[in-house]
């Protein structure tokens, strides 16, 4: 994650390194700065080329594919033939939930097709994102406040809190799958007979619970980093002024921790929007727990090009959410990278 932040601070002296800012200096110094800039861009070139190969190229190739038709079957030979150009048909099909009809046109996707699940998958994805991030923020904040205090065994607690986050998601999902089985621990413990993975809302909450359990520590650590940036003197001064604990929290802690908090929320939101492995293993996407990423993966098996269109749509959705965060909600990941960037890694 830190790699893309690298270029920005370095670039500015390269482009804006004009002699105007530096009052007294000789000719030789100017040259050194100019050549430093060129030197820097040479040094950056390998990174930029590597990023272009591993990020830009696949994205562009996916976008190109998304304008191609999927292979169709030649009725005479029974063999697949390349589909040719599709224009924006793949996108239209997803957004309008249209599927191919036997007569060559399109019909509304019947239940039991992937195409008919686009909007419900979008809604599910946003449901999971909003609910899990909300829970994780509140619980993470609470955990961070506890961890920020001085007490015996604090480092032990901090390490222990990280355990759920350190377990691979696939393993977590399998563990929760056993917990939520009909004969599993959840039903035994509460003496219930809920079909956790067999009906819509229990299945959704099962995913939310598992995700909150797993990713709250991540949130807590990011917030903790933010909390520790706040100087103790500010609190002391406020105490002297006779503030209550609630006032200190609202007027000091919250505003000062906000930059770190917003970055943490931004990262979790983007992460949750592409949620895949947890619901895929826990519920298999049944009972309205299919997220956009699950839909993409399932579509890949039925046709690459439509899957490329769907993953481009997913990308645009995530882009818009990220844009809103950065532009309007002030999640600042680039400027003041000293303050917030550090806590991120």
């Amino acid at each position: 994650m830190a790699t893309e932040l690298g270029p920005t601070p370095v670039k500015s002296p390269a482009s804006g390194g004009t002699p105007v800012h530096h009052a007294p200096k000789g000719v030789g110094e100017d040259n050194r700065i100019a050549s430093q800039g060129r030197w820097a861009s040479w040094l950056l070139a390998p990174t930029i080329i590597a990023l272009a190969t591993v990020i830009v190229y696949p994205i562009i190739s996916a976008i190109v594919m998304s304008f191609q038709k999927d292979a169709g079957l030649d009725p005479a030979t029974g063999l697949f033939t390349a589909g040719g150009s599709a224009g924006i048909q793949n996108y239209v099909n997803w957004l309008a939930q249209q599927c191919s009809a036997p007569d060559g046109g399109t019909v509304a996707c019947p239940p039991g097709t992937l195409g008919g699940q686009f909007w419900s998958a979008t809604a599910t994805t946003f449901f999971f994102t909003i609910v899990t991030v909300a829970f994780e923020t509140v619980l993470g904040f609470w955990m961070a406040m506890i961890m920020a205090r001085e007490f015996r065994g604090r480092s032990l607690v901090r390490a222990a809190v990280l355990v759920p986050w350190a377990i691979p998601t696939a393993v977590t999902a399998k563990l929760w799958f056993f917990i939520f089985a009909f004969e599993g621990i959840a039903n035994k413990l509460f003496n219930t007979t809920i079909l956790w993975t067999g009906s819509e809302w229990p299945a959704k909450w099962a995913v939310v619970i598992a995700d909150v359990w797993k990713t709250t520590p991540f949130m807590a650590l990011l917030i903790l980093a933010g909390l520790q940036m706040i100087p103790a003197e500010v609190y002391e001064a406020a105490k002297v002024d006779g503030t209550t604990a609630w006032q200190r929290f609202r007027l000091i802690t919250l505003p000062l921790v906000k930059p770190a908090l917003m970055v943490a929320i931004l990262f979790r939101t983007l992460d949750a929007l592409r949620m895949f492995d947890l619901p895929y293993i826990l519920t298999g996407g049944a009972n309205n727990t299919t997220t956009l990423s699950i839909l993409v993966i399932n579509q890949i098996r039925q046709g690459f090009n439509s899957a490329a269109a769907l993953s481009t749509i997913t990308f645009i959705i995530i882009f818009l959410v990220a844009f809103i965060f950065v532009r309007f909600l002030g999640a600042n990941v680039v400027e003041q990278s000293g303050a917030t960037g550090k806590g991120k890694k």
């Binding site: 292979a71 592409r274 995530i318």
Partner: protein, 429 residues
């Protein structure tokens, strides 16, 4: 150094979205059809080849390859082992075939992928010079490897569903579905569930729903590969499951069952009847926790008036059209499907053979007592829909059968939605 205020957030958002969603993209290339010229090439060529299959769980394939390699100095076989996840095996094969790589000469192909790979032009048709003898193989297994009248793979191992029943409570197993439902009163008296299969929404539900439809005389696809679900037979079949679930003859929790959950329920004595694969036999008869050790029997699946139509499991072995040494590849396929090798799969790996004669082999029956029942099952079996659009077809069946069993929609609506979804998949794009 005046970047417009608007650009910085946009760029940041873009980079974040890119890095985070990049993993979702991928999968590449366009699907080429045909492969006619590839199929004709290298048919007489001999030399080293590679055999690809999923994880060799019971150490079955390695000894066989060693045996082959000892006898064929110039035609050595290298074993490429994939993961134990079917989806990953599928995607791995797709990637290699799509790139027309010649490094996968002989591949192990799940019965449900055979048509897809054949239609993509990746599998060598096993005809003329490349023909193999299938006369001794069970017809359903050959059918699962046949696409548009041409054999594309050699059946290697098979599998079929079996009805496990509590012989301490039911002296004679039911022969028909109605007879079995009639026996559910016995389950009620003993305060246990009556019948369960695998009804969670996954591949197992396709297996169970197809069995219900086929056993009632219906079929998912007709002979031309077109969906054929708006029939009275299909309706009767799916209704059997829906009705049993509504009645409680199929316990409510069975909607979450996969193979293992249903085995555990039967094994702990909570079920009277269980539909499952033969692999559960040894677990239920040997595991210490088993409450039904000497109390269960095995029978063919119940049908409409006689044995029901099981879905078919198992694996086929295919030769890649891109192989450089097809003569060796064909010989190796014949070696893998020889009677001796087939017997070895059964004794070493408990894998059901495709050769009918082996099901009455004394030595094998002593080791795997379910073989005679399994033979009936496979003789009456219907392969899952043989179609290049299998992923879409199985999804159509799962989604709609799931809703019908849970009673979220009527059986008619479910079947008509299933029909429409499969039509749409077959219409291509």
């Amino acid at each position: 150094m005046k970047t417009p205020r608007f650009l910085l957030p946009a760029a940041t958002a873009g980079i974040l979205a890119l890095t985070l969603s990049a993993c979702g993209g991928g999968g590449g290339g366009t699907t080429g059809g045909g492969g006619g010229s590839d199929a004709d090439a290298n048919m007489d060529a001999r030399g080293p080849i590679t055999f690809v299959q999923g994880k060799d769980n019971n150490n079955v394939i390695r000894p066989l390859i060693e045996k082959w390699n000892a006898a064929h100095k110039d035609e050595q076989v290298t074993f490429k082992e994939q993961t134990d996840q079917a989806d990953q095996q599928h995607d791995d094969l797709v990637q290699h075939f799509q790139a027309k790589q010649s490094d996968y000469d002989v591949a192990d192909v799940d019965v449900v992928w055979t048509a897809e790979f054949a239609a993509k032009g990746w599998l060598q048709p096993l005809k003329d010079k490349m023909a193999i003898d299938t006369s001794a193989m069970l017809p359903a297994t050959v059918q699962s490897a046949t696409y548009k009248g041409t054999l594309y793979a050699a059946p290697r191992t098979s599998d079929g569903g079996i009805l496990f029943y509590r012989k301490d409570l039911v002296p004679n197993p039911p022969k028909t579905w109605d007879e079995m439902m009639g026996m559910c009163s016995i389950a009620k008296q003993n305060n246990i569930g009556c019948y369960a299969g695998q009804f969670s929404k996954y591949e197992g539900l396709t297996v169970n729903a197809s069995e219900a439809i086929n056993s009632a005389g219906g079929s998912v696809l007709n002979k031309d590969g077109k969906p054929n679900l708006n029939t009275a037979e299909a309706k009767a079949g799916l209704e059997n499951l829906a009705k049993a679930y509504a009645d409680g003859n199929i316990p409510k929790e069975a909607i979450t069952y996969k193979e293992e959950d249903s085995r555990q329920a039967f094994q702990s004595g909570k079920l009277l009847f269980l539909r499952n694969w033969p692999y559960v036999y040894s677990l239920m008869s040997t595991e210490g926790s088993s409450a039904v050790k000497d109390k269960f029997g095995m029978a063919a699946l119940p049908g409409k008036s006689g044995p029901g139509a099981s879905s078919l499991g198992g694996h086929n072995t295919a030769v890649s059209v891109y192989s450089k040494h097809k003569a060796t590849a064909l010989d190796f396929v014949k070696f893998l499907t020889s009677e001796e090798s087939e017997k070895f799969y059964a004794t070493q790996g408990s894998l059901a053979p495709v050769l009918g004669a082996l099901y009455t082999d004394q030595e094998l029956v002593a080791k795997l007592p379910y073989l005679p029942v399994l033979k009936t099952s496979i003789e009456n079996a219907v392969p899952r829909p043989v179609t290049p659009f299998y992923p879409a077809v199985t999804k159509a069946i799962q989604d709609n059968a799931y809703s019908a069993i849970k009673g979220e929609k009527t059986v008619e609506t479910a079947l008509s939605d299933m029909q429409k979804s499969i039509e749409s998949a077959g219409a291509g794009s």
